[in-house]
Symmetry: C2
Subunit: 189 residues, 2 copies
């Protein structure tokens, strides 16, 4: 059973602007059984890939990264969305554009966390146009580490982020793919 599919069908709602609201169980509210299922589901998919680190971006990717890293038995890390005085020393940085918030932001990760040669699994809650994902991939490449895989909870399949990543040769896994959110109805693939 796809637990995430079930939760979306039963508890998600659609807002104007193609927003799928999953705040009851994945973003704000965190259903722990769902997270554990999702972490194990992603871990199973990438178990043969010798992952060293699970990387995500704050804030809503963190819960999924912790669940996935726990299931894989490796450490996790989250990139921050703008430079903070709590980040000392040198940083890997890139930029991304948020369509939700309609502004560009900086993505930063302390260099000491992500080292050359590491095999990184990037995870996030949503994949739409792939802006945040692109910024995370750039961080990994800056560090001369390897993107061993990409996993998202929910891919908005009607937007082009997933297609672009697959075309670029990345090993992308989406636990749930949304075909359409037209007329306020969730249509899953």
């Amino acid at each position: 059973m796809n637990y995430l599919k079930k939760k979306i069908e039963e508890e998600a709602s659609v807002l104007p602007g193609n927003i799928l609201l999953v705040d009851r169980f994945l973003n704000q509210g965190l259903d722990i059984q769902l997270l554990q299922w999702l972490g194990q589901d992603i871990a199973k998919r990438f178990s043969g890939k010798n992952i060293d680190l699970v990387l995500t971006i704050e804030a809503s990717g963190i819960a999924i990264a912790v669940a996935t890293a726990s299931a894989l038995g490796v450490n996790a890390a989250f990139a921050k969305k703008h430079e903070s005085i709590n980040l000392s020393g040198e940083l890997w940085t890139s930029r991304a554009y948020s369509y939700t918030k309609q502004r560009e932001y900086q993505v930063a990760l302390a260099k000491k966390i992500l080292n050359s040669g590491m095999r990184v699994l990037i995870v996030d809650d949503f994949l739409a146009r792939g802006m945040a994902m692109g910024a995370l991939i750039e961080l990994v490449q800056q560090a001369d580490a390897e993107v061993a895989g990409i996993a998202v909870a929910i891919e908005k399949h009607f937007q082009d982020g997933g297609e672009k990543l697959r075309e670029a040769g990345f090993d992308l896994y989406s636990a749930v793919r949304v075909k359409s959110l037209k007329d306020g109805t969730v249509d899953l693939l």
Copy 2:
């Protein structure tokens, strides 16, 4: 063994302004074994308290909330730091001041996640002056729910947040208490 104490002694550093940098293992970098230890440590302390929900604030509290909620077998939730268009419907809101970022911010949680009568365990990574904690407590009280306990990974004991919470009658647990960060040296209680 106090795993967090060990990690702080071995891997933390001190920045000007009484900042204890734990980005290798608790904030940016997430040491999964440490998180699992911390979640179990907090869960053990509050196991008799019939907790319904573990509540935190984005971003660095989320990993600890997931680990604690997993250990307790309950769900978690995180408040957001300013209103976002992804938060539909009605919100519980309060305000807090960040000394780190030197600005006030709004704290918001969807009402549907936090209901009247719930017994809530509030968790966070740091407790210093208690500004974020005060905002979370206010959300719980607005919802007519109960703060059944408060747990933080690291209490800056030389600041007054912990003392104020204890004096106000809250059941506060800190996995590690920092006595001083003077001269760049970590002095733990």
